[in-house]
Structures are given as structure tokens and as C-alpha cells.
Amino acid sequence: MKLIVNGKESNLEEGLTVSGLLIAQDVKMPEMVSVEFNGQILKRSEFENTALSEGDKVEFLYFMGGGNVTN
């Protein structure tokens, strides 16, 4: 399936959850990342149960560093 991850189109396997996406994308500092899913910030308790599907937009945000929020 095709997802928009950090503004770029990415091909990923079907059935992935947000937790799985963090692993699949080898996201830096996974304990610290915030995830915006189709315009909504997810709570960490939702990572495991949020299934991704074709066309979903996912942004990885970090605000612990102090620089401007990255994406």
C-alpha cells in the first residue's frame, strides 16, 4: 500500500500498524517520537491499534530537542 510518510510517498506492506511503521521506517528515538496520523496527534496508547491503509498521511514529529518541530 502507498502511504504519505513525512510528506513523501512510501510503499509499505499491508496490515501495518503505527507501531509497525516505526520499526519498518527505523524511526530515530522511537520512545520520543510523536505521530500525526491524518492530521491528528495520536496518543502512544493508540500506536499499537491504529491500522494503516492506502493513502494515509503520517508525520513523525519531535519536540524534545528544542529546535523547531521537525518533519
Partner: protein, 412 residues
């Protein structure tokens, strides 16, 4: 994961290089990068990373991640104290000429911050009796920027109807800020009942041992900053989404005020969190038992504990705090002199200005933490001259009772 598990494992999956299971204390002011471009990228937010411990620190980040999960929020900023947390939140939301509404039974230090310190910069604070929820709605006008309450007023021991106050705040499109220090997420998650921002003095039950000062700010995700009344925060939401408020603090207010925690203190808070749930059960159990003991003690004139059957806030405690009344209670002995005599007669309980310690603590609020307020102000804040406040520790209750019993025997 359940809350008790998150309190131990949340925010840290073990050190990848060393296998350390305790969160390492990253006692470093700053963080070096290989190239000038790498550091510039972190400043620009193109790469995640640390810059300077006043802004963020790896040990503190682990604490923030754990507190975020425990409150089921979207993000957290840990601060050097609870007062720093409240100051950062309010200064991040108000400007000169703005107004805030606060419950009148809150901690005197917080009232002083609002009225005296922030009052110097033109903030107007309206204190209302939180027992009548309508008071909040009546006080709101177009200058009002937030409502502030404590889950249990310290030391008035009133329990505001947070779900109803949250609805009033939502209708006015202003955030409800809730100080959850006395209940902690073990008893109550304000975000589940509509609160927008949660603040803590982590020095109290979260630390649990009286070893470090700290605070925290958690955004519950309930207030949509993209549609809020704060134009500067709304502008940030384009990039930061619902994290706009915390980004506004991290990149401006909190960064500039300098209220960051020491990494060692963040470590002590993380350790405290691991046993918080077990300790809260004992704090509440001991408070309930002492309140019941005091009810039958002829030398007292009154006792106030929201967990006592038939009391004004008993039903709310059942509904909101899972039936637990917290670890704090107050009682009166008729006069200030008798209160002083009683405190001087205690042997086990410590007479000091703190709460939430593993040790049982007492204080005479009117002459200490409220000493700067006059008699009329103290009456309005629910602090009579004969009041003794007790923060129940986790000692064996029989020893606490014996200490109180021998102190009562010593006063006339």
C-alpha cells in the same frame, strides 16, 4: 500496557549500548555534533536531537515520555518545580490585561504566583468558590484566557466538579488547567474528564521521598490549538499540529524562563514513578484510617477528608477518584495555640512544608504556607487559625495512630 506497568517501563526500553535498565543520568549541559551543518539541522528541526539541557535532556525526556503515557496525553514538559510548571503554562497563554479564573481553595503559593508575581505584569486573577460550578461560568468574560483548579484543593480539601467545569471551559473555548498533584494519574486522569492541560508538582507523591523538587506540564490533546483563541499558538499548529502549545513553551516560554529540571532530579522522579501506585494505595488507606480515628477523637473540633462517608465531596471522590480520598487531610483543635502544642507534641510525624512523602508530615498552614495572607484572605481560602494539615506517609498505621494519640494526651 496498564498504568502500573507504564509507571515502570514507560518512556524507556533500556539503554541500547549498555543494557542498563535504569534510565541513565545524562549529566551534560550540551551535546556535540560532528559538523556545523548537523547542529544547524537540529536547531532548524530537520533532525531530532538535543541542543542544551535548559531546553531538553535525555534523562528528562524519558520522564516526560513516561508522564505523557501515565496521563494518556500527547506530550509533556518537565520543569524544575511545580511552580515553574504553572508559571510556564500561564505565561504561555496570557498577556497584560488578560484574566484567569482560579478556584479559591488552591495552594497559597499558586495564588501568590497569580496575584502577586504575575499581577505585577497586569494579569487579573478572579478567585471563585469551586464548590459551586456556576461560579466559573459567571466569571468568564472576553478577557478570560484559562480556568485553573486543583483536583483536591490544598488545604481546603474541596473537590471541584472537573467534568462540569471542563464543559464550561469548552463552551468558552478556553483551556482548563488542572493541578493533579494530590491525586496523581493513579487516582485520576483529568484528561479523561475533559481537562486540557495537567500540571504537577512532582516533588510530592510522584517523587515520594522528599528528595527532589520538580514539576510537569502535560497536554491532554483535548484543546484544539488549531481552532483556539491564542493566535501565536495557532500559527505554530501548521507545523506542530496539536503539539503547538508544548512547542510554543519548549521553543519560547520554557526555553527563555529557564525552569528546567536537573537531570539527577528527573532520575529521582522516574524512580518515584515506579512505586507510585503502590504508595498511593497506602497513603490513601492511612488517610482514611486517620480521618476515621479523628472523627472519634474528643479533642478535635472538626476533621476534613473527602473520603469520609457522608461528607460533601464523598460521592465525587467515588465517581472521579475510584473511591479514594487522597493522602491529605486537615483537622482543627479550636485555637492556634492548641494546634502549635499538638504539633510540638508529635514525635514520629515531621513538622515541615511538604506533602506526599513516604513519611507522615504535618504543618500549621495559617502561620506557614499561608503566612503572607491576612485573616480575611485566609478565611476566603479556607485556612482557619486552628487548622493542622496532615500528609499521611506509608508507615504502619498503628504507629501513626499511637503518635497522634500521645500528642492528644499532651494537649489540654
Amino acid at each position: 500496557m496498564k498504568a502500573d506497568t507504564l509507571a515502570i517501563h514507560g518512556g524507556f526500553a533500556g539503554d541500547r549500548e549498555t543494557g542498563a535498565t535504569a534510565v541513565p543520568i545524562c549529566q551534560s549541559v550540551s551535546y556535540a555534533y560532528r559538523s556545523a551543518q548537523d547542529l544547524a539541522d537540529v536547531f532548524d528541526g530537520k533532525t531530532p536531537g538535543y541542543i542544551y539541557t535548559r531546553i531538553a535532556n535525555p534523562t528528562t525526556s524519558a520522564l516526560e515520555a513516561r508522564l505523557t503515557q501515565l496521563e494518556d496525553g500527547i506530550g509533556c514538559i518537565a520543569t524544575s518545580s511545580g511552580m515553574a510548571a504553572i508559571a510556564s503554562v500561564v505565561m504561555g497563554l496570557v498577556r497584560t490585561g488578560d484574566k484567569i479564573i482560579a478556584a479559591s481553595g488552591i495552594f497559597g503559593g499558586t495564588v501568590s504566583l497569580f496575584e502577586n508575581t504575575l499581577g505585577r505584569f497586569g494579569l487579573e486573577t478572579v478567585l471563585v468558590d469551586a464548590a459551586d460550578t456556576k461560579n466559573f461560568a459567571k466569571a468568564i468574560d472576553d478577557k478570560t484566557k484559562l480556568i485553573f483548579v486543583e483536583t483536591i484543593g490544598n488545604p481546603r480539601m474541596d473537590v471541584p466538579d472537573i467534568p462540569a467545569i471542563a464543559k464550561i471551559a469548552r463552551k468558552a473555548n478556553i483551556p482548563l488547567v488542572v493541578d493533579n498533584t494530590l491525586t496523581t494519574p493513579v487516582l485520576f486522569k483529568p484528561g479523561d474528564f475533559g481537562a486540557d492541560i495537567v500540571v504537577h508538582s512532582t516533588s510530592k507523591f510522584i517523587n515520594g521521598h522528599g528528595t527532589a523538587i520538580g514539576g510537569a506540564i502535560i497536554d491532554t490533546g483535548n484543546y484544539d490549538w488549531r481552532k483556539g483563541i491564542f493566535e501565536d499558538i495557532k500559527k505554530l499548529s501548521g507545523k506542530a499540529s496539536q503539539l503547538a502549545f508544548l512547542s510554543h513553551l519548549r521553543n519560547l516560554i520554557y526555553r527563555d524562563l529557564g525552569g528546567c529540571p536537573a537531570p539527577m532530579n528527573s532520575f529521582l522522579m522516574l524512580q518515584g514513578l515506579e512505586t507510585l501506585s503502590a504508595r498511593m494505595s497506602r497513603h490513601c488507606e492511612n488517610a482514611q484510617k486517620l480521618a476515621q480515628y479523628l472523627q472519634n477523637q474528643p479533642k478535635i473540633t472538626w476533621v476534613n477528608y473527602p473520603g469520609l462517608t457522608g461528607r460533601r465531596f464523598y460521592n465525587r471522590v467515588q465517581e472521579l477518584f475510584n473511591g479514594k480520598g487522597g493522602g491529605l487531610l486537615t483537622f482543627g483543635v479550636g485555637t492556634k495555640e492548641r494546634a502549635f502544642n499538638f504539633i510540638d507534641s508529635l514525635k514520629l510525624a515531621k513538622n515541615l512544608a511538604n506533602l506526599g512523602d513516604a513519611k507522615t508530615l504535618v504543618i500549621h498552614p495559617a502561620s506557614t504556607i499561608f503566612h503572607e495572607f491576612n485573616a480575611a484572605e485566609k478565611e476566603k481560602m479556607g485556612v482557619p487559625a486552628d487548622m493542622i494539615r496532615v500528609s499521611l506517609g506509608i508507615e504502619d498505621f498503628e504507629d501513626i495512630k499511637a503518635d497522634f494519640q500521645q500528642a492528644f494526651e499532651r494537649i489540654s
